[in-house]
């Protein structure tokens, strides 16, 4: 099934110091689908995502294959994989403005006015128009989470990985940000892999749930 936009994991095994954390995981995430991986902390679920974006700690021994849109990405460096990731912290670069953070995600090669227009459009989508020159430290938690998603989406990823991105938000905000992230990801037809230990996340995702650990 090459070139259909899916993210496919093929026999992925994660081991640390001889102990197997994940054994032979097979998984296919179709475009626009949200698959949830659930497991307690230390079960290797964050490592799985780090491996998918090409930045796993070498202390882990990981075997298996990952393909995205039909292409094997297993051996590619992170910057060539086109896999976006969101962590539980927004990790906005503190030395850049909100607009600067978004511009960092935007691929090079676009002319200046086009870049600015794309950034302004992303701010509109995040319901934060005119925020380009703001210091990210002055934003609320929900605003920062939305900017972090926009930064990731501007890099035009072909898949989205979510590493417990809602766990730091307070309960009232969590639902809204969840809808926001899921909505934008499915609207763009991205395969989404969510790892979490919060059953509410899995329920809201409404897709397949895989238990590990």
């Amino acid at each position: 099934m090459s070139g259909d936009g899916s993210l496919v994991l093929d026999g992925v095994t994660v081991a640390l110091d001889g102990a197997t954390l994940i054994a032979g995981l097979d998984l296919a995430v179709a475009p626009g689908e949200i698959v949830t991986v659930m497991g307690p902390s230390g079960s290797g679920k964050s490592t799985l995502l780090a491996w998918l974006c090409g930045a796993a700690d070498p202390a882990f021994r990981i075997a298996g294959r990952a393909t995205l849109d039909g292409a094997d990405i297993t051996g590619l460096p992170p910057e060539a994989r086109r896999v976006g990731i969101l962590f539980q912290d927004d990790l906005l670069f503190p030395h850049l403005s909100v607009g600067g953070n978004l511009a960092f995600g935007l691929p090079p090669g676009l002319a200046g006015p086009e870049r600015r227009a794309r950034i302004e459009a992303a701010l509109e989508e995040a319901e934060l128009p005119g925020f380009a020159d703001r210091d990210p430290a002055t934003l609320s938690g929900g605003q920062r989470a939305r900017i972090a998603l926009m930064r990731t989406l501007l890099a035009a990823p072909k898949a989205l990985l979510l590493d417990e991105p809602f766990s730091r938000l307070d309960a009232a905000l969590r639902d809204r940000i969840r809808c926001f992230v899921f909505g934008h990801a499915t609207e763009r037809g991205l395969p989404v892999l969510l790892v979490t230990h919060d059953p509410d996340d899995a329920r809201a995702a409404g897709g397949k749930v895989v238990e590990i650990g």
Partner: protein, 561 residues
């Protein structure tokens, strides 16, 4: 290319140390073909042992070295134990930078200005208290026992040990440990010694050894503060090396060898003392005493620390005032006539050594920061973190006495035709700048949350772009601070300039040392103050530039505070 940086770096600064040791030990056993020594012999050692007053020199070296290191360490530990988490620690932290920035020679000269018979201290109490109508005829700086040298060293080493210990405290759960111990009924200082010190000691052991090694082999401060007949071993070896009678080179090399053995033996002895202290300490901890009489100790430790800082800062102030004094008669506390004339008269003489100082310091600091950044970036890309043994390598040039291998380095430079060149001077300084720059930057660089870099990579940025656009700007303050540290270290270097400069280059430091032997305090004040001012300017810029650049980025507070 990046993966070669660690190897090149090690070669650049460990190669010379090793080669320098060989180049010093061979002449110590009579082998130095350039001066006709071709056969192995013990004659240099026999001549060394026959030097008059050698035992006095050794006694002076060991006495001042151990006293300075132990007093400094005791002061720092007692102060931090007594005052952990209180306002005096905050105040000391704030005043640390100016004292750290000041080169050793300037500290020595500042102390001499305070403590000499005609210095500020005597003026402040004369003649109303002492009855002295003229400066008293007593030898205070230098004194025959080396007390002035110990004081000078303590002034410089207390801030260094404070910095290293505070940094180590930040990496262990000191506050929670203390809270637990105090809830079990231990007094604060007792709790600190029994529970926090064992946590931080492994991290400050090497800095303490470096302080001991430095105190035992200091040359520049000793030339200003130590007795001269006979001087401690290290300055005496330098005297032999600079003797016009070239056959003295062999004695000097043997002396340098002896100096090296003294330092190695002293560190061994100290290590033995450490084991004994640990044994006694465990019994003391097991006995369960909760501590009493801490109040008196707290007052004493805070007072002693206050005196160290006050003397250090007053010394700087004294130099500044002397540099603009026209007439300052005994026993006036301040000059009666002020004038910038000293500076104007010295302007021409200052220009060349000033330029050498700044250009060498900038070059050495920039090369060092480039190499260190290369090493750290390579470490993160390859995920190979050097173990704790690598730290010993980094400390090697700080533990080996400078006089013990710089002669060998000079032999190497002469043989390669590089001696007396500007580049040789930069390289000589780099040996000592590199380890300090590495120590200043490694911690902050490794502590940066690696998820920032991972996020940037996943946004499609290449590793190079992540380095230049994410890591470097986020760590701008520690990078500039490390640069300032390197600059300050280079400005203060004395022996590397003497040995690598081939007598052709003078810096503010070498000029200040040779002037200190003379008498004109107004001229000494100008050189010493300028020498102290340069590093201070460096640190000020290193703090001000990122603060200004990121004035509208509150999230950077965590990285710029």
């Amino acid at each position: 290319m990046l993966r070669w940086v660690p190897a090149v770096t090690l070669l650049l600064f460990l190669g010379p140390v090793a080669a320098g040791l060989v180049g010093t030990w061979l002449p110590a056993f009579g082998v130095l073909p350039a001066l006709g020594g071709t056969e192995f012999s013990l004659a240099p050692w026999r001549r060394l042992l026959a030097e008059p007053g050698l035992v006095t020199s050794i006694r002076l070296t060991l006495g001042t070295g151990f006293a300075a290191a132990i007093v400094s360490l005791a002061l720092v530990l007692a102060f931090l134990a007594a005052c952990h988490g209180t306002r005096p620690v905050v105040a000391v932290r704030r005043l640390l930078a100016p004292l750290l920035a000041v080169p050793h020679v300037a500290v020595a000269i500042g102390f001499a200005f305070l403590a000499s018979p005609s210095g500020w201290a005597a003026r402040a109490v004369s003649p109303w208290l002492t009855g002295w109508e003229r400066p008293p005829d007593i030898a205070t700086v230098p004194d025959p026992w080396g007390i002035a040298l110990v004081c000078g060293l303590v002034l410089k080493e207390v801030p260094f040990l404070l910095l290293m210990t505070l940094a180590a405290l930040g990496q262990v759960p000191a506050d929670r440990t203390l809270a637990v111990a105090r809830s079990l009924g231990y007094g604060p200082a007792t709790a600190w010694f029994k529970t926090v010190l064992p946590l931080v000691w492994p991290q400050i052991r090497l800095p303490v050894y470096a302080v001991l090694a430095y105190s035992l082999s200091v040359v520049d401060m000793a030339l200003v503060l130590a007795p001269g007949t006979p001087p401690p071993l290290a300055p005496r070896v330098l005297r032999w090396f600079s003797d016009p009678d070239l056959s003295r080179q062999f004695v000097a090399a043997a002396g340098a060898g002896l100096q090296f053995l003294l330092v190695v033996g002293a560190i061994g002895l100290f290590h033995g003392g450490e084991r004994l202290a640990a044994f006694l300490g465990r019994r003391w901890i097991a006995a369960g005493g909760r501590g009493h009489g801490e109040r008196g100790g707290r007052i004493a430790a805070t007072g002693a620390m206050g005196i160290v800082f006050a003397v250090g800062l007053l010394g700087m102030l004294g130099m500044a005032i002397w540099s603009v004094a026209r007439r300052w008669r005994w026993p006036d506390v301040l000059p009666s006539v002020w004038s910038p004339g000293n500076w104007a008269r010295q302007a021409d003489a200052l220009a060349w050594p000033g330029w050498t100082t700044v250009s060498v310091a900038l070059a050495a600091a920039l090369i060092a920061i480039a190499l260190v950044l290369g090493c750290l970036e390579n470490e993160q890309r390859t995920h190979v973190t050097p173990g704790s043994r690598a730290l010993w390598l980094i400390y090697a040039p700080l533990l080996a006495p400078q006089i013990g291998f710089l002669f060998g380095v000079q032999v190497l430079l002469v043989a390669s035709g590089l001696d007396g060149r500007w580049a040789a001077l930069v390289w000589g300084h780099l040996l000592f700048v590199l380890p300090y720059v590495f120590l200043a930057l490694a911690g902050p660089w490794r502590r940066l949350d690696e998820r920032y870099a991972r996020t940037a990579l996943c946004l499609g940025a290449s590793p190079g772009r992540v380095f230049w656009r994410v890591k470097l700007p986020m760590l701008l303050r520690p990078v500039l601070f490390a640069l300032a540290v390197g600059f300050a270290v280079s400005v203060g270097e004395y022996l590397p300039t003497v040995f690598a400069g081939g007598g052709r280059y003078a810096t503010l430091t070498t000029e200040a040392v040779s002037l200190a032997a003379g008498g004109d305090r107004r001229v000494i004040g100008v050189y010493a103050f300028l020498q102290a001012l340069l590093p201070w300017l460096g640190f000020t810029l290193a703090i001000a530039v990122p603060a200004w650049l990121y004035r509208r980025r509150h999230g950077m507070k965590a990285f710029t505070a």
